[in-house]
């Protein structure tokens, strides 16, 4: 029973079902593990010890009494702290919501619970998911488990680092412009950004509604698939989820012969060590009888501007509700005139959030709407069309997940543009609403490199097949020394 925490979600589930160990024993190990390593990685904001143990005992009781148990029975799942959990603080790593206890569960959380998963705790992130390094958190930065001088990526830094550090086998993150894939790549784990409209966003505290999706992070492709089966599908609480699309059972096959396109602009734009790794991934697929070729994308150069214009515009409006009237933190309004109170309260946003609210407000103002927001939407449409025609020729596109290797703390924090630039490879999937996955592809100087695969709308199955094929033919370390 040693090192249960290092096992994959599928293995844990089998172990508990098969009576090898109990869910309670497992959860105790997980909690011990968190106590031990979290001071080093700062991935977990808070644990729900009581709730987790209660649920574990319930799962054990169900197994003992031969009752029906859910497909995720006993699996510890960490939840990014911008996804609402009933009666459990959900802070967005912001002072603005430091005391916020949601009165409801996000749909994804409810589905995890219904399937007998165990919510272990809430995970660190950039404030309101705005950032690419988890340095902008009111709880302090998350540390890369592979090298503690380096950032874990963001904004779902806690979700990726907690899995890499074996604090939980799987977690949920959210991906607005790469927020799942960036940290998953930096931490050498698997992360999926599903098709827009595939997973309910009800309960996801929004940064940019038209771009983001909740998605799973795990050490293996099949763990990610396992969580996806539970969380995906129509929800009567989110009208942007496509009701006509039914979640397939994702029967994995690693023998697929696929047509693969390598996106030249993205691959060549990356650091040499990274592009080398992507080209060798292409060679690997070629050797497996896949039809691989390089492709060129015209609209890549406009993607980043388009993305930040739309994301910040939506953010500026989404964040206006935080006025501390209906929820928030304890700060008596006595003696304040309304506008003064409002200004006082909103000064609690962090600098990065303030910057994005200001820029977003600017691009939406009536004088500049046509110049920025409308143009950004046009680019978005053209990018979508370009991808659609590419997916007529290719099953998947491959590219680096990140153009650079993980960087050191403080290296980019003072230069917002530099920080924005590293999202170049990931924002495309968000703008087009298509699914994308990152899988560990190797290391350079002991720092992880991720391979990104992108497919057409609702073609997650193709991503899983390709990712599984790649995973089965490579052997990349998933367990850093801590």
């Amino acid at each position: 029973m040693s090192k249960l925490y290092e096992r994959s979600a599928n293995e844990i589930n089998a172990g508990i079902r098969g009576g090898e160990f109990t869910a309670e024993e497992y959860i105790h190990q997980i909690l011990e593990r968190i106590d031990k390593v979290n001071p080093k990685v700062n991935a977990v904001i808070c644990t729900d010890r009581k709730g987790a143990l209660e649920k574990a005992r319930l799962v054990d009781k169900k197994i003992r009494e031969d009752e029906k148990i859910g497909p995720l029975a006993g699996i510890a799942v960490g939840i990014k702290d911008n996804i609402c959990t009933r009666d459990l603080k959900t802070t967005c790593a912001s002072k603005m919501l430091q005391e916020y206890i949601p009165p409801y569960d996000a749909t994804v959380v409810r589905r995890l619970k219904d399937d007998d998963a165990i919510i272990i705790g809430k995970l660190n992130l950039d404030e309101f998911a705005m950032g690419s390094s988890t340095e902008f958190s009111s709880f302090g930065p998350t540390i890369n488990p592979w090298n503690t001088d380096y950032v874990a990526g963001g904004s779902s830094g806690g979700s990726a680092a907690s899995v890499a550090a074996s604090e939980c086998p799987v977690s949920l993150g959210s991906d607005t412009g790469g927020s799942i894939r960036c940290p998953a790549s930096f931490c050498s784990v698997v992360g999926l950004k599903p098709t827009y409209g595939h997973v309910s966003r009800f309960g996801l505290i929004p940064y940019a509604n038209s771009l983001e999706q909740i998605g799973p992070i795990g050490k293996t492709v099949s763990d990610v698939v396992m969580i996806m089966k539970t969380i995906a599908g129509a929800d009567d609480k989110d009208q942007t989820v496509q009701v006509t699309y039914r979640t397939p059972d994702y029967t994995l096959s690693s023998n697929e012969k696929m047509r693969i396109g390598l996106v030249r602009e993205l691959t060549e734009g990356a650091e040499p060590e990274i592009s080398k790794q992507i080209y060798s991934a292409m060679d690997l697929f070629t050797n497996l009888d896949c039809k691989c070729e390089e492709v060129s994308m015209d609209y890549v150069e406009y993607a980043l501007s388009s993305y930040y214009t739309i994301a910040l515009a939506e953010a500026s409006s989404n964040l206006s509700r935080y006025d501390n009237i209906r929820y928030g933190f304890n700060f008596a309004p006595d003696g304040y005139e309304w506008n003064a109170y409002f200004a006082k309260i909103r000064s609690n946003f962090g600098d990065e959030v303030k910057r994005r609210i200001i820029v977003g407000t600017y691009v939406l103002s009536s004088a500049y709407y046509g110049k920025y927001y409308l143009k950004a939407q046009k680019i978005r449409t053209m990018l979508k069309q370009e991808l659609r025609s590419l997916f007529k020729k290719y099953d998947i596109l491959i590219a680096p997940t990140m153009p650079i290797l993980p960087f050191k703390f403080g290296e980019k924090i003072d230069d917002p543009i530099k920080m924005f630039m590293i999202d170049i490879d990931t924002v495309i999937a968000n703008l087009a609403g298509v699914p994308a996955i990152t899988v560990p592809a190797g290391f350079s100087n002991d720092l992880p490199i991720g391979l990104q695969m992108i497919a057409g709308e609702f073609q997650e199955q193709k991503l899983f097949n390709a990712a599984l094929l790649f995973e089965s033919k490579t052997n990349i370390d998933r367990n850093p020394e801590l």
Partner: protein, 502 residues
């Protein structure tokens, strides 16, 4: 010549009034974007709320499809075009009563329109163009320390029970020149929404009207906070007088928002900050675009109840009513409904319509003249035109029948009506109890004449010389029969008797 025409033109265009009418869709079960109740009246503050309408982080709006249907109906009734697709927009501004600090509404721009555009409504000989009909959410309600709208309160309470209620906003072009026309137009609108059954206009705060007005091409003044449709005409008349006086004294009229002070009957500068607002409209990403294809629109058309103008045509055709009478009935849906119920019981449509328009209407209007509720307090009841009147359709039907059968005359019927309104008794009951039945029986009348001849000996003797005696005697007979004797028969009998004496 040219100059003259311009002057005429100027005179004709001197007053320009446009209206923004907000109408709560009280017919719905739930709010526009969540499942909280649509009817919050009578509930304690903040008891009709949920995470969605309180704007909790992570919640998403869920569009009430029935609201779209109703808004579509209103658009069609106002002869608007309904677009193939509709979208909701965020109107961003900070205000305490706005849970998300943006309002979900509709917007006409960038090739997308609200649910209704380019409509038209005729009223009398005139017409106003309808610029747009849009569906949006109501904000919450602010309650000030002093009870009224008072910015000097040291605290403000917020009640979100109303937050998220479906509103239809009807915006007209500035096509009105006369406040009287505005009143007629608003009556028309009221009748339409009542006929559609989408809004209980009698419920406090369910319909509100803002007006904008400019004079002689001057700056546009918005009048807000007008308590009821009836006050709009008064507010506009006041504002015209104010602006005319100002321009007479060469004082420039400012572009501003003014509140109507219901108690003092004046408009006064709104205390709300007067700055150019940029609402930063953009499409709501959490709601998909809704396709309203031809099939959908025609299915709504099929479902639409009879509209006032259609009903009027039916009234003139089927009931043989005059245009005027039909119009008066239709303008108040309750009156028209009452009429039709009565006609079902007794088919004398013209008689019943006459009674409705000449008598019943008077009573309902008298009732309205005495407002029972303070406009600043929230009423839990809806006030019907017939509130406090005990009259029902069956009463008027029977009244008409009694008249038709010559059992009573119209004067008697009026007396009976005053009783019915108070007690709710059937006319025949009133008749039996108060003995107002007309006496036509010659034997009974002869007896009465006989007794009068006995008591009025001197008058009877004078009859030969004085032709007025017959009328005097008639008066006496009417007196002892309490006015019930048929005057023609009575006079005839008196004359025969006098002739007999000679």
């Amino acid at each position: 010549m040219k100059v003259l025409m311009n002057q005429e033109n100027k005179e004709y265009r001197s007053v320009k009034i446009g209206l923004e009418i907000h109408c709560q869709l009280t017919c719905l079960q739930s709010k526009l974007f969540c499942s909280c109740f649509c009817n919050y009246h009578g509930l304690e503050p903040n008891r009709n709320i949920c995470p969605i309408c309180c704007g909790h982080p992570g919640t998403l709006p869920l569009l009430n499809k029935a609201a779209v249907e109703v808004a579509c109906m209103v658009s069609l009734a106002l002869d608007c075009k309904v677009p193939d697709n509709i979208t909701f927009y965020r109107k961003n501004y900070f205000y305490q009563d706005l849970p998300k600090n943006f309002q979900l509404t509709q917007y006409n721009a960038y090739g997308i329109t609200s649910i209704g555009v380019d409509g038209r409504l005729d009223y009398g000989e005139k017409a106003s163009r309808i610029r747009r009909v849009q569906l949006e959410e109501d904000p919450g309600r602010l309650v000030y320390e002093s009870g009224g709208v008072d910015f000097s309160s040291s605290y403000t309470l917020i009640d979100y029970n109303r937050a998220g209620i479906s509103l239809v906003e009807i915006v007209t072009e500035p096509d009105f020149t006369d406040p009287k026309d505005v009143r007629i137009f608003l009556n028309k609108i009221t009748s339409i929404i009542e006929h559609l059954g989408v809004c209980n206009t009698k419920r406090q705060g369910s319909v509100r009207c803002d007006a904008n007005i400019s004079i002689q091409g001057g700056k546009r003044v918005e009048i807000k906070n007008v308590g009821s449709f009836k006050e709009v005409e008064k507010a506009l008349n006041y504002e015209i007088a104010r602006q005319k006086t100002m321009s007479m004294h060469d004082i420039k009229v400012l572009a501003e928002t003014r509140d109507w002070d219901d108690a003092r009957k004046v408009t006064k500068q709104s205390r709300a900050k007067e700055e150019e607002q940029d609402y930063r409209y953009f499409p709501e990403p959490d709601l998909p675009t809704i396709a309203l294809d031809e099939e959908y629109v025609s299915s709504i058309r099929m479902k639409m109840p009879e509209l006032p103008y259609e009903r009027k045509n039916r009234f003139t055709a089927n009931y043989e009513l005059s245009e005027h009478i039909a119009q008066v009935l239709i303008d108040n849906k309750e009156l028209a409904d009452f009429f039709e119920s009565a006609v079902k019981i007794y088919s004398s449509s013209k008689e019943i319509a006459n009674w409705m328009v000449t008598e019943i209407l008077r009573y309902t209007e008298e009732d309205i003249m005495e407002p029972k509720i303070n406009s600043s307090s929230i009423s839990t009841q809806s006030s019907s035109s017939f509130a406090g009147l005990k009259i029902e359709a069956k009463h008027v039907a029977e009244l008409a029948e009694l008249i038709d059968k010559n059992i009573i005359n119209r004067n008697t019927a009026k007396i009976i009506l005053t009783q019915i309104i108070k007690t709710g008794e059937m006319p025949s009951q009133v008749l039996a109890r108060t003995d107002v039945l007309k006496i036509e029986d010659k034997v009974i009348i002869s007896d009465a004449v006989e007794s009068v001849f006995k008591t009025e000996n001197s008058a009877v003797r004078d009859a030969k010389n004085n032709p007025n005696v017959a009328n005097f005697l008639l008066g006496k007979v009417m007196k002892i029969t309490k006015g019930r004797a048929d005057p023609k028969i009575t006079l005839n009998l008196i004359k025969i008797k006098l002739d007999g004496l000679n």
